[in-house]
Symmetry: D2
Subunit: 341 residues, 4 copies
């Protein structure tokens, strides 16, 4: 039996997920949609799907077994709490919520419910390259991971819409989450350094270097460039005690021509992570069908929120900004070991 | 509505396709199975699928809209003809049939029916690396393709079961088909050269070099090693007038350790082509749902049969063995241009 | 006519340079050697070379047109000043001197002399990979360099002899010098961060992350691991406004075997930089033959000394340590532009 | 003491070797030059070098200890025989001679003299990439070599001057010699196949595929393209019983820009093999200084002549053309083992 899914928010990403759930993946059907713009919801609704006036009605409907949240961030908290109250599995696009306090409230509700219901849209964890990288680290043959160099390059960002805070509270979350996951660790403190500015972005603060001090003592240095023209280039290299493991080049055709021997680089995140999005939902459908969630959790969304907040404080202060997390509920697994010092 | 599929043959590959059609892909359900070993068919049948005594009954059943043939080669002709007679789309694992005459009879039946119904299991055409390679060639920026070097390496073959003819009438078909497809060309003649034998295979004739002379005049040299120990390594490089395009390394983690800077190589064809198999069926489901077929056709299966036959003649004669094809029915698209010479 | 060279210090590196100057390169002959251990000097002296009791006598001898200093660091200042007083070109192995004050005195003497006489042994500037990298940056097609990621990995260091300060005042100088050279810039401030310690080095502070804040505003992050077991792996990647340029893999044979598809990594600095050492002396012989020096200068040695000092202060303070340089004498070329901000 | 060298032929390659011997390498001086164009010889003569009217006088002069032959091919035999008669070591640019009979006469003379005096200019044997490749093969960890794929690509050839025979009797010699050397084997027979012609070369027969059947049974397939526009790209891959070893990419800067992630390809043979030429002469100077020769021998020049002749026969006949060699004189080392079959 296909999982009956209601989609909240039918903007670009919502429409893409509807396409994915109806045309690419098995085991799911879209039975309900809603959007603040009803016409947009109607246009996006697959045949047979009901269009609801409000998220609350959609969440409460018997036609909906699981929910996909693609609305804007400030609306997430209420929608997540409604899903939890209804005991319905929910996939929530990033950000989980927009404040630490809100994140804690969602954690509290989910812990009170007693079973994971929320999966957050950190799609990198479903990317085959990252998964192989983690398998190598976890395999242990290289020893403990000590440093991680995460490179995040965008060809360009929408002028005017993308502000100087966004490398830190929007772009960085992916590097922060994947660092926590790869190293099985938490972020204990954040530093931000601002190099010479690229002339391509006008007044935009770009590039940015972020240091994430992990609980284990490992240090992650993140290199963010959001206007680097040549492509969307995501790199990662883990330096361990006895060796190094890195993401490979993307599997593009090796062309030898007058530009050299070369491989194309993805143009944007859609091209780079399309399979990861598919896999993310493939696994969500299975878990949601069992009434629960796996993958990135409310706790991971909470951690990402804290890192973004700390990065904004750090760029302002110029110093190291610590992160204090609440005790990790057992629902979200064991906490990482502390640094031995 | 899901496509109702009947599967003929529930050996290893049949069972794998049943898994794929039920657990990985959307838009399909297995409604019927049959096997010469009824117990094996019953074990493989998903819940709700009917087990038939014979392929003929399965093909004729109203519960079956499309057929997947995974039986042994000699049984294919009759099953294909029954499918065509019933007007049902059919996916046929390689080989299409086991003789030139049989291939012609299937072509004749399909042409008489007037619409493509058969897709042959040449999965490489659905592999993302090969598709990108073809897109580069077709893009034309490198000029016309003149030579193609196709490398086919197996870690090992089942001792005793894999004979010296099989590099030519079994392994080679993949290289032959992908060469025809990449170059949009036909094989006009075949030569075989036998290098110094690997001591790893006992009396097995391995490795083998095959030259495919294409209708356009392009030459494909195929390097086949079936016992090379280190992995399943499939390579391809097209040399054009103004440049070269090649398959990339597989996207394995780049590890730096005491063995060097390195990437793992697939162990076997399952690991290498798993996504290609998925994509092959994804596209088949769509076409079959519309009552027809795309991808590798009966014509392609006929061509592969001719190449395998010519390769066996060529290894015996030591000389160039020509291939004479019947005129290409319009159903299968235009014939490639002849060499100017 | 071959350049008559006197060598001060016939330890491991001195003996290697004698070999290089007599057996590999043209245009030079060793006419004089000296060492604090006279027996060692005599053993190292090529046929026809005179063994002197003291550096002063060697430098003053008419048999010596140019000097190579391979003695220990604390002795360099006096020997350099003697060479300058004698107007003789001198190649000085790193470190130039061991204190900021000493570096200033050597600068003062050379400036008073009015012509460059000193070349410092920063061999990376002569490495073909680094030279090509610099040519790409200087070519300007990628825009201005904004960040440089310099990775310095040693397989192991001599236990007991290599202390926790040495990554900062010994190993780092190469990364600092090559950063200044690649970016055509000066180091304005230094920060040090210490990740989780590798268990392979006992109490050794390893690895280390160093941030070099350049005068232009560019930031260099240096990743130093001195005990990483797998090899001597030197990497560098310059991130510019419109693209990225990086050192390539070393040109080792591409082997496909059961360890994957792989290339060997150098075992140590001798293997990695042997051609750079040759080229360094090739160019020195030419310049010294003309009574002067090119390549890394006294100024570069002074800068390296300041970076090492600042790095030691920074690891102690945990904060950003600024570097104040004297005004750059015209003898050493133009100073880099200041950051616009 | 520097080796006193006389150079015969001061065309482009002769002038380049004079530069190399005087400015790059140690241990040699040019004491004599000659050319059929005396003015050209005088222009090329370094200071102090004597200009001779004829090769015979130069070879006979006491001012000459060793000879470098850069004249045109038809003149080589006489000059080589004169050098051998005078007992003087000689470096001879390819081709050794221009006929099988001439090659035999030079062999006979050298064998009668009793010591190797001749080194032939097959510079690839001195290239570091090829040497590392051979070391891997010789190391034996991959088992016996069974096939070698040699790719020889030129960006362009001089229109009108470069004829359709030249891929076979000029370009091929490098692939043939390096195959013999890498595999420690002889060429027993040659086949030539001519693919669809590149439109870039007009009537020029290009590309060409050559199969070299080695004495051991190994097969070398050589892919020659002389007008491929994009660069000078030399590749080689040895397929062994348990693995594969290949030449690496050249160590060019890895650039990521709008053309992809890429490395430049050499423009021509000078750029690709400049270090190999240096090393070739470095080793020749040492051997010639000892009154003998190492590296590619008269025997290797003889073998290359036979392969070129056989290739021309093979392209005309369309079939396999055998090579019959005289018994290998002990002076040139042991003959390779015959194929078991």
């Amino acid at each position: 039996m296909a999982l009956k899914i209601g989609v909240i928010g039918t903007g670009m990403i919502g429409v893409d997920h509807i396409r994915r759930l109806t045309q690419v993946l098995s085991g799911a059907e879209i039975t309900a949609v809603t959007d603040i713009d009803r016409a947009r919801a109607e246009a996006a609704a697959p045949k047979g799907a009901q269009v609801f006036d409000t998220p609350k009605e959609l969440i409460g409907s018997d036609a909906v077994e699981a929910v996909v949240i693609c609305s804007w961030g400030p609306a997430h908290e209420e929608q997540l709490l409604d899903c939890i109250a209804a005991g319905k599995p929910v996939f929530c696009e990033k950000p989980l919520v927009t404040s630490e306090a809100a994140a804690k409230r969602v954690i509290e509700a989910e812990v009170a419910f007693g079973r994971r219901l929320v999966q957050v849209g950190f799609m990198r964890r479903f990317d085959a390259d990252y998964r192989r990288l983690k398998a190598v680290i976890d395999g242990g043959s290289l020893g403990a991971p000590l440093m991680y160099h995460s490179t995040h390059r965008n060809a360009s960002v929408p002028e005017g819409l993308y502000t100087s805070d966004m490398p830190l509270n929007d772009t960085l979350v992916h590097d922060a989450d994947i660092s926590r996951w790869l190293l099985d660790d938490e972020v204990a403190a954040v530093e931000v350094r601002v190099p010479r500015r690229s002339t391509r972005g006008g007044e935009l603060r770009d590039p940015t270097i972020v240091l994430l001090h992990m609980t284990s003592g490992a240090i992650v240095d993140v290199e963010i460039s959001v206007n680097i023209a040549y492509g969307y280039d995501i790199r990662g290299e883990v330096s361990c005690e006895m060796g190094v493991a890195a993401l490979p080049n993307r599997p593009a055709t090796v062309i030898s021509d007058r530009f050299g021997i070369r491989q194309a680089i993805p143009e944007d995140w859609r091209e780079r992570f399309i399979e990861a999005y598919d896999q993310e939902f493939r696994e969500w459908i299975v878990a949601a069908g069992q009434g629960t969630a796996t993958g990135p959790s409310t706790w991971d969304g909470y951690a990402a929120t804290l890192v973004g907040d700390a990065a904004l404080r750090a760029v302002a202060s110029g110093t190291r900004e610590s992160i204090e997390m609440i005790e990790k509920p057992a629902l979200y697994g064991p906490a990482p070991a502390l640094a031995a010092e």
